[in-house]
Symmetry: C2
Subunit: 125 residues, 2 copies
């Protein structure tokens, strides 16, 4: 698994780590019961404090993505991804509703929005 973080990101380091691990889980680069890097080894690899990594892991555990056992390490949790996917779909719905409202009062057309959509989704492929 490759985790890359950046100081220049708009997101805090711990959040970047969370997102990268979530992505790895969803992309099956990490699977159920897989052992994650230890807080200290990952911190060392990324040249950051282990407390920052721990914070990311704590958040991931609260959200149900991983399970941590003292002395053993952190493991990818049994998948209950459908529930999480539903929540993410709701988030996306809210963003699209916002876009709809903006477009309605600004005269920006559906075509223009689709164009932006296409650019962002193809830019990083």
């Amino acid at each position: 698994m490759n985790i890359i973080i950046s100081n220049r990101s708009d997101l805090p380091l711990f959040k970047q780590i969370e997102n990268e691990i979530k992505t790895a889980i969803f992309n099956n680069e990490l699977n159920e019961q897989d052992l994650l890097p230890s807080v200290r080894s990952l911190a060392s690899d990324l040249n950051i404090s282990f407390l920052t990594v721990k914070r990311a892991y704590d958040n991931l555990e609260k959200e149900g993505f991983i399970k941590t056992i003292q002395g053993k390490g952190s493991f990818v949790a049994p998948k209950n991804m459908e529930l999480i996917k539903e929540e993410k779909l709701k988030e996306i719905e809210k963003h699209i509703e916002q876009i709809y409202k903006i477009s309605k009062i600004s005269g920006i057309t559906e075509t223009e929005i689709k164009e932006i959509f296409k650019i962002i989704f193809e830019e990083e492929k």
Copy 2:
């Protein structure tokens, strides 16, 4: 013009003020050359520091929405529809970037998103 701010918002006060004034300009509640409330009077109305209002006004001036003259006050800048449209396009871009990030970590496909997009944009017609 009505400006409403909230401590419970996720946005800082100065940003909320910026957004409300931009919206008012866009909706023609504020027009070219209109005088905005003075930093001190608005601060007093909102029960916040005048420095917070000044910060919002400074940002609005940097972005070209208003023009401030010492001793006189702040005025709505000559309308630049392109500027406003650019602003709204940027907002939409941010939403789509958010959607992109969510999709990346949740395995939600572009097709699924387009489906939601279609539903929301056609539902409310």
